[in-house]
Amino acid sequence: MPILVFIEQREGAVRAVSRETLGEATRLAAAPGEAGSGPVVGVCCAASDPGLAALGETGAAEVLLATHASFAHYEPTGYTRAIVAAVEQVKPAALLFPASAMGRDLAPRVAARLGVGLAADCTALAVEGGRLIATRPVFAGKAQQRVAFTGTPAVASLRPKVFAPVSGGNGGPAKVTPLAFAAPEALKARVREVKATTAGKVDLTEAEIIVSGGRGLQGPEHFDIVESLAAALGATVGASRAVVDAGWRPHGDQVGQTGKTVSPKLYVAVAISGAIQHLAGMSSSRCIVAINKDADAPIFRVADYGIVGDAFEVVPALTEAVRALNAQR
C-alpha cells in the first residue's frame, strides 16, 4: 500500500521538514508488510507549484498538487479537505506529516475528519509484524510511548531534525498531478499577515546549533555575549523560562516543557541551572555543553562537556576561539 506524505510549503518553497518526512516514508516503504512496500506519494497545498517535481530526488514517486488562491497562506479548512481527498484517491497505509507548527495544527484535523488515530511528534517509526508502530516522547521526554493504530490510514507527525532525508531517491523527477477537491466557500479563519520575529534567522526547532542563556546572565543587556557566540557558531539564540518570564527575551525563544522542544546537533547552555522543565526541551540534543559557575548545577548531569566558571569570562573566550577556528577554514 502507498504511503502519503504531506508536503509543507511556505511562500512558494518546499520546507526542509518535508524532505525529512519523505525520507522516513521512503525507508518505511522499503519495509516488508502492509505498511510498507508501496510507492511514496506526496500531497501539497499551494497557490502554485513550488517546484514539486524536484521531490523525486528525495523519494516521492508522485505529488498531488491542490491549488487554490487562499493557499498562499496556511488555511486549515481547505488544506484538510484537500488531504482527505488525496487519502480517498491514494488509499494509503500511512499518512505522514512533519510535526512543524503547520503539521501539528493540521494533522489532528485530518485525523479527526478521517476518524482515525494520530501519533503526534514521533521520533521513530517501525514496521513490526506487518503493522506500524510509532515511538513518541511523552511527559516532556521523561518517557517514551510506543503506539499502534486500530484504523487505516495510520497518521503520524514526525519531529523536525530527527529523520534524515534521502538523496537520489527516485532517480528521476516526481510526477506532479493536479488534485481535485471541494474548496471551502467562505473561510472562517484566515491569515491576515505573518510577522517575522526572527528575520533571517533559523528557527530554534530547525537550528543545527543553539546557544541558550539563563538567569545567571543577570540582565537582558548581557545577552550580547550569547549573541556573539551564536553568531560565531552560526547558531540560533534560545533562553530559559526564567529569562523569558523576566521579559529579557521573547516567548518564542523559550526552550523547555512549556517552550520549544529542540534537537540540535549542538546545544550550549550558558548560566542555566538545568531544571527538569528546561531539560525536557533540550535533552535529546546530540551534544550538550554547559557553562555554569556552580559545579553542582543539574545541567552538568546531562552535559557531554562542561566548564565550571563565570560565563562573563568563559563565553567571550569561547567566542574568540571559535572565531579563530573559523578563520583557519
Binding site: P76, K142, K188, R192, V194, V289, D304, Y305, I307
Partner: protein
C-alpha cells in the same frame, strides 16, 4: 456569551516518571496532580473576556476519573461558574476518544468560544483541541499567544517557525492557548470559599472505540555521563578541541 474551557488534570511537571505494572501507563502512586499548565492560560483568558464583557458564563469541562474533582474545584475557585465532569474509568483514552466525548458534551452548550490548552504536558499530543473543533465543525486556531475580540471575530496571534501568524477568526471558534497569552491568577480565599457552592455536573464520557493502541511506555536510555572539561576560560581550548575532533559538531 458562554465560553467552555477544556481542562485536563495531569501529573505535576516535577514528577519522576515510573511505569505501571501494565508496562504501558504512568504509575500513579505518589503523583501530585495539577491542572495542565496550558489550560490555566485558557481559563484565565476566558475569565478576562467574561469580566471585560461584564456578563457571560464560563463552563469548565474535564474528562477523567474520580480524582479530578480537586482540579475542577481549583478552576471554580479561579472563577469559573460551573463544571462538567465527564466520567470514565479508562486510564488513558486516546485523543480521538477524548475529542469525541468533549464534542458530544460541548455541542448542546452552543458556546461562543471553546478554549483548550496548546497541549497536555503528560501525553504532549496537542491534538484534542483541533480534533474537537473538527467534530464540532468550528474554526480553530492553535498555539494562541495573543487575542483581541472585535465583535463577532477574534484576531489572534500564533507562533510559527520564525514568526507569528495574525489570524482573523469568526466566532464561534475553538482556540488553543499557549504560554504568553496572559499571567494566570491564583485562586483567592474568597474564590475558594465560593467554589464550594458551585455546581459540578457529572455525565458518562462517550468515548467510543479507541483509535490508538498503547504498546509500551519506557524510560529513555540515560545519557552517558558527561565530563567537566575544566575550570574557567583556561578550559576553552580543550573544549573547542573536543567539539571539533571528538563530537565533530563544529
Amino acid at each position: 456569551m458562554l465560553q467552555v474551557v477544556c481542562i485536563k488534570q495531569v501529573a505535576d511537571t516535577e514528577t519522576r516518571v515510573r511505569v505501571a505494572a501494565d508496562g504501558k501507563t504512568l504509575d500513579p502512586s505518589g503523583v501530585t496532580w495539577i491542572m495542565n499548565p496550558y489550560d490555566e492560560f485558557a481559563l484565565e483568558q476566558a475569565l478576562r473576556i467574561r469580566e471585560a464583557a461584564g456578563a457571560g458564563e464560563v463552563v469548565v469541562v474535564s474528562l477523567g476519573g474520580a480524582g479530578l474533582q480537586t482540579t475542577l474545584r481549583n478552576a471554580l475557585a479561579m472563577g469559573a461558574d460551573r463544571a462538567i465532569h465527564l466520567k470514565t474509568d479508562a486510564v488513558q483514552p486516546d485523543p480521538l476518544q477524548v475529542a469525541r466525548a468533549l464534542a458530544a458534551a460541548i455541542r448542546p452548550l452552543d458556546p461562543h468560544i471553546v478554549w483548550c490548552g496548546k497541549q497536555a504536558v503528560d501525553d504532549d499530543a496537542a491534538q484534542v483541541g483541533p480534533m474537537t473543533a473538527e467534530m464540532l465543525d468550528l474554526p480553530c486556531v492553535t498555539v494562541v499567544a495573543a487575542i483581541e475580540l472585535q465583535g463577532g471575530t477574534a484576531v489572534v496571534e500564533r507562533e510559527i517557525e520564525g514568526g507569528r501568524e495574525v489570524v482573523e477568526v469568526t466566532l464561534p471558534a475553538l482556540l488553543a492557548a499557549d504560554k504568553g497569552l496572559n499571567e494566570p491568577r491564583y485562586a483567592s480565599l474568597k474564590g475558594i470559599m465560593a467554589a464550594k457552592k458551585k455546581p459540578i455536573a457529572e455525565a458518562a464520557a462517550e468515548l467510543g472505540a479507541p483509535a490508538l493502541e498503547p504498546v509500551s511506555l519506557a524510560l529513555p536510555a540515560a545519557r552517558a555521563p558527561g565530563r567537566v572539561v575544566g575550570q574557567g576560560a583556561a578550559a576553552v581550548p580543550e573544549l573547542v578541541r573536543l567539539l571539533r575532533h571528538e563530537a565533530k559538531v563544529i
